[in-house]
Amino acid sequence: MARKISILIVDDEESVRDSLYNWFLEDGFRVECAENARKALTILESDQFDIILADIKMPGMDGLEMLRRIKSLKSDAIVIVMTAFATVDTAVKALKDGAYDYVTKPFDPDDLTHLIRNATKQISLTDENETLKKKVVSLENVEDLIGESDAMKDMLREVESVAQTNSSVIITGESGTGKELVARAIHANSPRKFFPFVSVHCGALTESLLESELFGHEKGAFTGAMYNRKGRFEMADSGSIFLDEIATISTKMQVELLRVLESKTFMRVGGNKEISSDFRVICATNKDLKSMVENGNFREDLYYRLNVVNIQIPPLRDRKEDIPLLVGYFIKKYCISMNKPLATIDPTAMKRLQEFNFPGNIRELENMIERAIVVGDGKKISLKDLPLEKTIINSSAESLDDFEKAFVLQILNKYSWNISRTAKALKVDRVTLYHKIKKYDLKPSDQ
């Protein structure tokens, strides 16, 4: 149900206040009156009103001054100014100072009804907009970052605090750790959240393409430039630009980028007009930029300009306790997208996943789960659905004995503990195989 709209009437004439008070009361609004601007401002300190209907000519502080003060406190306040002495100058002045509308006393009942109806529509649209924005933001946050581990919690705290600032950020982390997700989370929690988040994969573009992509180009700037095109910096105005794989950009682009970051102005390729854009830069790399600077492969000045805040994403192997949560999240995600009933995972398969080192990090885990849902029986993900066998030995074995133990167990499992077939596959005799089983205390339950 729509909430009750409130109106504050500010007029030095009692008869005007009373008339409007009764009129709005009959319309079902919450109404209060103030006989001068000072009293109105005092009321507004402790109470909020959706619409303020104020006379311009009042003794003491006039309506225009009051309008300016109200707007400085609450820029979205709907203030309608009234006057008995209509002049174009005053009307223009009031509207320039942020008045919602301007009316001349006395007004036609129909005009008053329309005026308030329009203001009410505006209020409900603003309310609706706010509600939708909150919903969008909460959805974005839910989607974003999964993890309950201490390493993840620390990183989320950093994201939260840096999001509120305007500082440049470099996100470092191994491939597949979710650097773009962190960048999106920074943007989604920042005051720029309602403006664009523009993502550029620097590593995927040649120098000339990257230049045109970032700065845009004018028609005819190069062969094939048939139309003017906005660059990513221009598109990111008021929002954030995410430069992924920043370490791959050429020395020439590093100079260009530094200039843009310092001046927040640039020209399109083939253009001569300076364009300004207010954007926040978030970069990501899986390289060690500091050593690239030391080796002379990355400009030091650009490095310091970008590296105001550094957020490091821990690799998945350093936060294995998050694996069950991530597995559950990806199972749900892919079962829903493939329109399948929600699958479960065999505890043995989960245990094995938690032992795995995931050199490809979350991306690798995600691909594994997606594959398992495609190839599996659709009810339960078991070890055989996961492509872990070939790599498990390499990633977890720390000695020759560990390696042998894991390898023998893997082949035993592959042949369902059929001794003859396993011995044949291992090219050993049955006695040797029994000896190994005894030596490593292997059991069929050790999967």
């Binding site: 008869s15 008339s19 009959e26 079902g28 009234m82 006395p106 009942p109």
Partner: protein
Amino acid sequence: MSLPNITLISFGYFEKDLLENTADAVKNEFRCSVNIKEGHVDLSEFFDQSRRQYNGNSLLKLVDSMSFPDSLKTLGLFNVDLFIPILTFIFGQAFLGGRSGIASLYRFNNERYGMTGDNQFLLDRFKKEVIHELGHTFGLIHCHNQTCVMRSSTYVEDIDQKNLQLCSNCREEIGI
């Protein structure tokens, strides 16, 4: 239990049929007894020279000051052009949840809008306005139901669109 009493008090010339018809409509709608009285007041005291209209606020206060011990609500009926300081005109007004209101016949005549006079329209509009203002005295605010008599009307054709009756919600609100 005796029915609540409503007094309609006319100021200036009104046809007897119109007053009786209006009283019947009020009686049917609010299920109460209705008295018709004549008020004798010099309306020139309420005339505003600069606007060439009659001050609705002052007339409402006048009606409110008239005490009828046997009457629950009192509505002053006029045949003059009413205004309040902030609006160019009003059809009537009342104290919300109070005991009095006013309504004027003046702007309901088709001839004022360059059309042929129609007594039925005049009567219907007046009855709706009287019930509307009495509804306010019973504490009803403007209703969003398109046909309810409590819907806000700012011009005569708007009044023609609504019914003479309160909607079920408004009825329930005041317990009739």
